[in-house]
């Protein structure tokens, strides 16, 4: 499944991308799709068969499951970080 994560900072997005890759998930940074919004304008799209969070997620703003029809399913993270 494909996910998109948005971030409070550009740096957070780049770091998340690296963390994804280290964990073995293909990931890339890209501009935030126009129907979503974010503070920094950059998001990370990654492929994974499971929902996954890195340890450092201070800059993580939101998480979306990308639907096959192009929709985005927001996932609210309830640990106070996003």
């Amino acid at each position: 499944m494909r996910y998109i994560a948005t971030f409070h900072t550009h740096y957070g997005a780049l770091k998340f991308q690296n963390d994804c890759r280290k964990a073995g998930f293909p990931a890339k940074t890209m501009p935030v799709p126009r129907k979503l919004s974010s503070s920094c304008g950059i998001c990370v799209e990654f492929e994974s068969s499971v929902l996954w969070l890195p340890e450092d997620r201070e800059d993580l703003e939101a998480y979306y499951l990308v639907g096959e029809d192009g929709g985005y399913l927001p996932c609210q993270i309830e640990d106070g970080h996003a």
Binding site: H10, G41, G70, Q76, D79
Partner: protein
Amino acid sequence: MGSIPTYSRQMHGAGILNDTGPFCVNKLIQEDDFVLKDRYKLPLVGVLVGVVALALTHLGNPANMGFCIACFLRDMAGSLGLHRAAVVQYMRPEVIGIVLGAFVISVLKKDFSVKGGSAPFSRFLLGFSVMIGALIFLGCPLRMLLRIGGGDLNAVVGLAGFVSGIGVGVVFLNKGFSLKRNYSLTKTEGYLFPAVNAGFLLLLVVVPSVLIFSESGPGSMRAPIWAALAAGLIVGVVGQRVRLCFVSGIRDSILFREFGMLTLFIALTATVAVGNILSNKFVLSFANQPVAHTESVWNFLGLFLVGLGSVLLGGCPYRQLVLAGSGNSDSAVTVLGLLVGAAFAHNFGLASSGAGTTPAGRIAFVICLIITLTIGLTNLNKSSASA
């Protein structure tokens, strides 16, 4: 698509979450209200902004200055008595319109998001520095395009500096530059900036005698209040919806080969050029351009500083107005930095004129470049973010 279960368990540390996890599911976000795809929408917005800018010039604004966020904030600083340059003082309704347009549309579209607290004073100083750079060039990135559309080749030199500054800013981003995250704030915080702008509009309409108005020079050249306000509202609304930003459009084409926003810039510039040609105002030259000078090195460097500072800020001066109207108090602080920068520029003779740059302006440029680079270099994260 299937569903994701709702969970409430607290999650700490790294982890793979398959059948348990800290997620709950909200409403699916589908294609938004725009019928047109970006491919068509962005150039159309460019044409619209170009037409509005041409109309403002036709209705009385200075040549090649349908819009200029830097010049207009400078005029507003003068109108409030923050500087004493008698030729550039006016409470520009265009700026108020942009802020209020962005505010109204962001509230209507549930895009109004009150956030702040990300290095406010760094942002203030970056805003200050961006304004010094813009007033050395004599225009913000938006006016740069309008000047190119008028045939002003000095603005092409400025564009080269602007792109270079953005390129250096991108290097900072890839080296892990961050002013740290912002946080959600109370609604009141977000309403204050639009409210202050509404207050300025009230002053302009009801008690203009408390404000200062230029009787000659660029500040005296103005479209009628309601036309200027309407123009600002239009550009604020469409700019908020398509996230128009003259910096991020170029930044994203460097970073991600995402060229959509460039089509808007090209359409805007082409529209203005066609309008100027049709009205016999198009003059392709370096010399004798309106509110411009021919010192190429400083045209380049001025917009270099604007590009670099704006990448560190995350948006150009126009975008800062829109974000401030949409609840971002970091952007509101940045606009204050721009405003104070403009006041300094005219109180201390830092701003250029048609005759060129000033010695004090060149010194101020060096100081502001040092400030910007210092903020850039001291906010790099040690663990480089680049892959």
